[in-house]
């Protein structure tokens, strides 16, 4: 418990029949950090979370959560964790308070203490006045806020957030991200987050584990991950050329250092190039063709690039072979959106 790690896994593996969802992954999560699992849908993120939450039994390997073994001490693990899964864990026809009261009682929180915590948590997400309204009357963002504080009722040391912003509008997405950061700083809660959104991982996480096809392919801070690319790898150059011609574009494409050229409707040209002289080469070519460079930007490599570099393919939904909740059957690819309970 006192070794500074919230989670340790050793060759954690989960198979569904012939399909290996999680393939011998070993990693540690430090206490107090926000740790992100980044990967396309079906990469094994949720399955890993489910194993760590004791909802799914590992096929092989071990994991300790809050210093407790997820298989042998599963019921004790549960006392120390909170889960916000992909699907809302809320009963639509119950009010926010009733929902919180129900789950609080499942954690044996004494009555007065529970009411105190409910008030405090509703205040934490600025929803005091909504406590006595039924969940079904809430917007998706409001539902998710209540859903998040539900996972905080037992004051967990470790909070699991499985795609917490999936299906939310941009404003709610920001709210939930802020909330996540606030939980981490104010309450010193270790947070394990899964996402398939690069920006989200980049914004929130102290460290990121990139997971692809059930394996962790890279694990570091966002900055270090990006450093893997800068200099030696790709430069993203955005050029604004008012008198852009096809000739210039074709010219750019055949430059040896240029990897790809893309254009948008506003005559912005996005060039991906490698090597230290990439800038010089691009400028020389445009000047030679009498192009006028109005502006030029070098964009930092994104995690998207990192992912592409490491896995050799882009972050997009692969054929999803993913178990539905609490069962060994695979859901169809279309089933990934957040289920709205009516």
């Amino acid at each position: 418990m006192n070794d500074g790690f919230a989670i340790k896994t050793e060759k954690l593996t989960k198979k569904f029949g012939d399909f290996t969802a999680v393939d011998h992954i070993s990693f540690d999560v430090k206490k107090g950090e926000i740790f992100g699992f980044l990967g396309p849908n079906g990469a094994g993120k949720s399955t890993t979370i489910r194993m760590l939450c004791t909802l799914s039994r590992p096929t092989a390997g071990t994991a300790t959560v809050a210093g407790l073994d997820v298989i042998k001490e599963d019921s004790h693990v549960r006392e120390h964790i909170g889960l916000v899964s992909e699907k809302l864990i809320m009963y639509d026809r119950l009010t926010a308070r009733e929902n919180l009261r129900l789950f609080g009682n499942l954690y044996d929180i004494p009555k007065e203490e529970l009411e105190k915590r409910i008030d405090e948590l509703l205040g934490f997400v600025r929803m005091q006045e909504w406590g006595d309204h039924q969940i079904r009357t809430f917007s998706t963002g409001m539902k998710q806020r209540i859903n998040v504080i539900r996972a905080l009722l037992n004051q967990p040391e470790i909070l699991f957030l499985d795609e917490p912003t999936l299906g939310l509008d941009p404003q709610s997405t920001n709210e939930i991200r802020e909330l996540t950061r606030k939980i981490n700083t104010d309450r010193k809660t270790t947070i394990i987050l899964t996402t398939h959104m690069m920006t989200e991982a980049d914004l929130l996480c102290d460290r990121i584990g990139i997971i692809d096809k059930g394996k962790i392919v890279a694990l570091d801070t966002p900055a270090n991950l990006k450093k893997m690319l800068s200099g030696k790898e790709v430069s993203n150059i955005i050029l604004d050329i008012p008198n852009l011609t096809n000739d210039m574009v074709e010219g750019l494409k055949v430059l040896p250092s240029v990897k790809s050229v893309e254009m948008d409707a506003d005559m912005h040209v996005m060039v991906k190039a490698t090597g230290n002289d990439a800038f010089d080469n691009v400028i020389d070519l445009i000047r030679k063709k009498n192009g006028k460079i109005a502006s030029m930007k070098n964009i930092e490599p994104t995690l998207e690039d990192v992912f592409l570099h490491i896995t050799g393919h882009e972050v997009r939904d692969e054929k999803v072979l993913k178990p539905s909740n609490a069962s060994s059957h695979f859901g169809p690819p279309g089933m990934r959106s957040r289920q709205r309970v009516r």
Partner: protein
């Protein structure tokens, strides 16, 4: 974890389920509507003597008379008066068999009576007079009933004729004449007073059936649906025993099933005039055992099906044979032996027979020990199989 917590947790889950249910207006309406429709349906769809009223019957008088006497007119008139007075039949005339046949085919009448050509002649010459009843074979129940009514009416008319003849021709007093014609007088007496209405017969079965249906459809919803929408994870990730989840669900469904049973009982008594001859407490106890015996089965099914859809499908598949084989509608004794064997392992069969025994015949516990034992054993065995299955299915 302490036992008190196990109970406390399950009570909370039960509370949650019932609260959710009570806020679902449609579900609440259905809770009342379903048994009402069931009672109405089974009470009225099966034809009985009382369901014959103003049935159109065609009468063809082919009697040629003898001399200037035509006795058939008198006969037809009596029949018509009887039909009108009792409200059973509405007579119309026809020209003969072919005409009646056509009228039955056109659904103008439900049956016909033909008074044969030599009716008067036979009567007056001391022979038997012939009357033919034409029935509609496409509606066997109705024609059986009509046939019974017509036969007994005609018999009665015949008896009157005979009594009159004896009185007139042999100077026998009317009461003696009755004894001569009908030496045996049959009295029917059940073991409880009064003639049981059809509802009386159906109500116990319908009660057991509705309780079964509510359990069989309620449990997949309560368990598989929660798995489907992911809320089950919320309970699974809490430090509570798996057993308390099942117990909570079972408790909530039991309460729901009992409420449904009580509603239908009240309806049966208040609306359909069913009389309960036995102990009302015993009726509740049987209802409870009925619920109990289905809970295990319900959990078993939901534990190996992953989606609500699948669970409901399996439930439906099991429910229909149970409904028809358990003697709710048709007496088991009428079925072929292999069907009887199947019926004899269905809990609904025993729930129905126990309820019928207590409600209709006023039996006490000693008469229904076997059905009660069966229900308990069935429930316990199912739960013993279902609970480990459920736990296993939960942590895949």
């Amino acid at each position: 974890m302490a036992k008190s917590n196990l109970m406390k947790h399950s009570l909370w889950i039960c509370w949650k389920d019932l609260l959710e249910f009570s806020r679902n207006r449609i579900a609440l309406v259905m809770l009342v509507l379903m048994p009402l429709l069931m009672m109405l349906m089974v009470g009225f769809i099966f034809p009985s003597a009382s369901s014959v009223s103003n049935t159109p019957v065609a009468i063809a008088d082919l009697d040629e008379g003898l001399g200037n006497v035509t006795l058939s007119h008198q006969f037809a008139a009596t029949l018509e008066t009887f039909g009108n007075q009792s409200g059973l039949m509405k007579m119309s005339s026809a020209t003969g068999f072919d005409d009646i046949k056509m009228k039955i085919q056109n659904a103008e009448v439900s049956g016909g009576i033909i008074i044969e050509a030599n009716f008067t002649e036979n009567l007056l010459t001391g022979k038997q007079a012939y009357i033919t009843i034409v029935t509609d074979q496409s509606n066997p129940q109705m024609s059986t009933i009509l046939q019974q009514i017509l036969s007994s009416t005609i018999d009665e008319l015949g008896n009157m004729q005979a009594r009159y003849g004896l009185n007139q021709n042999f100077n026998v007093s009317l009461s003696n004449a009755t004894a001569m014609i009908e030496p045996y007088k049959v009295n029917v007496e059940g073991i409880v007073p009064g003639t049981p209405s059809y509802f009386q017969f159906m109500a116990p079965g319908v009660m057991a059936m509705v309780v079964m249906m509510s359990m069989m459809t309620g449990l997949p919803h309560a368990i598989s649906y929660e798995k489907d929408i992911g809320t089950m994870d919320g309970m699974m990730v809490a430090p509570i025993r798996r057993l308390s989840i099942i117990l909570g669900k079972v408790l909530a469904q039991t309460v729901r099933g009992m409420v449904q049973g009580i509603i239908i009982l009240i309806m049966a008594v208040a609306i359909f005039g069913v009389v309960i001859y036995g102990n009302i407490g015993l009726v509740f106890f049987i209802l409870f055992l009925c619920v109990f015996s289905f809970v295990g089965l319900g959990i078993l099914i939901t534990s190996f099906t992953d989606k609500e859809e699948t669970a409901s499908m399996v439930m439906m598949t099991l429910m229909f044979p149970m409904m028809f084989l358990s003697g709710v509608f048709f007496p088991i004794q009428q079925m072929p032996w292999y069907m009887q064997d199947i019926a004899n392992v269905l809990p609904l069969t025993y729930a129905t027979s126990a309820l019928r025994n207590v409600m209709v015949l006023g039996s006490d516990v000693s008469a229904i020990v076997f059905p009660l034992t069966f229900l308990i054993v069935f429930g316990v065995v199912m739960l013993l199989v279902a609970i480990p299955m459920f736990k296993k299915g939960m942590s895949r």
